[in-house]
């Protein structure tokens, strides 16, 4: 029996999701068509809505429906500090800490030197333009503590330095409430290297 081509197209389309292979794409497609047609309808219209309405904030580059997102437009935020993160999820994480009252810039990626993803590919010029608005006094680099995140932080710091803008890097170390015996060797070794005087 030959699969109808519309079904084939749906299965093929679902495979664009991360971690979805041919088998699970097929399972999803059958589930949507057999058991949850209403859910499928919602999914379809939500996708179309999202694609037409969501854009990047002109100032921080995160997803928003507005030209300038609510966070960037909020006058109560400290407009002198800019925190650079890799993803919108990182921004939300940082917000949950309630430890930071400044503004953000979301890279939507990071440098990955071995994959050919350089400063042009992640549009670093947009961040550099943003940091030169005349208000920003400090750029806080909160990229991940992976080798790629470190490389990204270094490249941005050097670029900002050449523009005369001060930058800082968030600290790394043991998790709060963490016990030494439960910490991985890499973290503990680096905590020793980066120890500070008391």
């Amino acid at each position: 029996m030959k699969t109808p081509t519309t079904l084939e197209a749906l299965i093929q389309a679902l495979r664009c999701l991360p971690g979805v292979g041919p088998k699970s794409a097929q399972r999803m497609a059958y589930h949507l068509l057999q058991r949850d047609q209403a859910g499928a309808g919602h999914l379809a219209s939500a996708l179309v809505d999202a694609l037409t309405r969501i854009r990047h904030c002109n100032r921080c580059n995160t997803f928003t429906e507005l030209e300038v997102c609510e966070l960037c437009a909020n006058p109560a935020r400290d407009h002198r500090t800019l925190c650079v993160v890799e993803t919108p999820a990182d921004l939300l994480m940082m917000e949950q800490t309630l430890a930071y009252g400044g503004l953000y810039f979301v890279l939507m990626g990071r440098l990955s030197p071995l994959d050919g993803i350089g400063p042009r590919e992640i549009h670093l010029d947009r961040l550099l333009n943003r940091a030169q608005d005349g208000m920003i006094e400090e750029v806080i680099l909160a990229t991940n503590f992976t080798v790629e995140g470190e490389a990204t932080a270094h490249y941005i710091a050097e670029s900002l330095r050449s523009l005369g803008i001060r930058s800082s890097r968030i600290a790394r170390g043991l998790p709060v409430g963490g016990e030494l015996e439960n910490v991985d060797s890499g973290t503990l070794a680096q905590a020793m290297v980066e120890r500070r005087a008391l």
Binding site: P113, L114, V147, E150, H154, S185, G186
Partner: protein, 240 residues
């Protein structure tokens, strides 16, 4: 059925990694005794995976794996330590070394001498002295070429006569240093620079500058037209 090949506690560096399925990682590793391999690290991308703080590039690791296929399965990883994590420009240089290995080192082909040169280079980069970065790259590039069987002859000219420190040469890849003729594809280099490179002495600014051009020309022979992403990044940084 062939018995699955097991490798236990091999001295290894991780060169690169790719996400694999939902929670796993494929790591490209370079082991001293077994050469380059691709391993699946199952569950390494789970939020609290113990492997996360362990499977780091530029860190000496002891890895165990098994499997017959091209893609093997990581069984365990042990931290060896002793090398601070690379930062700043040294980190960018580290990426450059990894890109050279990924592009030039054949898979499953042991090269302990290249591994030792790599380990030495990483340790030098980790010490972080900025004056040490370029000499470290040059020493590694030479060791890599030698390990792959393309060592340039640095102490004799193309006719077999000893290089003279005070003479100028035209170095042509695959031919060597010409004392008399000039060839367009060659690199002009002082005899002293060649002699310095032969003993790994990069204190002279002229040697540093000329050796860089010579190594670039020799590496281009092997790399072909494939661009080196990390070289471009280093140049971008330099021009800021």
């Amino acid at each position: 059925m062939a018995t699955s090949k097991r490798v236990e506690s091999a001295s290894t560096f991780l060169l690169h990694h790719y996400p694999y399925r939902e929670t796993s990682l494929i790591i490209d590793v370079f082991s001293r005794e077994h050469g380059r391999h691709s391993l699946v690290a199952r569950g390494a991308r789970r939020p609290r995976a113990a492997l996360r703080g362990l499977l780091l590039a530029f860190q000496p690791l002891l890895l165990s794996w098994f499997g017959n296929n091209e893609l093997k399965t990581l069984h365990s990883a042990e931290w060896q330590g002793g090398v601070p994590q690379l930062t700043g420009r040294a980190l960018m240089c580290g990426f450059y070394l990894n890109e050279l290995l990924i592009k030039l080192l054949p898979r499953e082909d042991p090269h302990p001498e290249i591994f030792d040169a790599y380990e030495k280079a990483i340790k030098a980069l980790a010490r972080g002295a900025s004056s040490e970065l370029e000499p470290t790259l040059r020493c590694f590039e030479l060791a890599l070429l030698a390990g792959l069987g393309y060592a340039p002859t640095l102490q004799l000219d193309s006719t077999g006569k000893p290089i003279e420190a005070s003479r100028s040469y035209c170095f042509v890849p695959e031919q060597g240093a010409h004392a008399e003729i000039r060839i367009e594809t060659g690199v002009t280099i002082a005899g002293q620079s060649l002699l310095d490179m032969a003993v790994g002495d990069y204190r002279s600014p002229l040697t540093l500058q000329q050796s860089k051009l010579l190594m670039r020309s020799l590496l281009t022979q092997l790399l072909g037209d494939a661009p080196l992403y990390t070289r471009r990044l280093l140049q971008d940084l330099q021009s800021l």
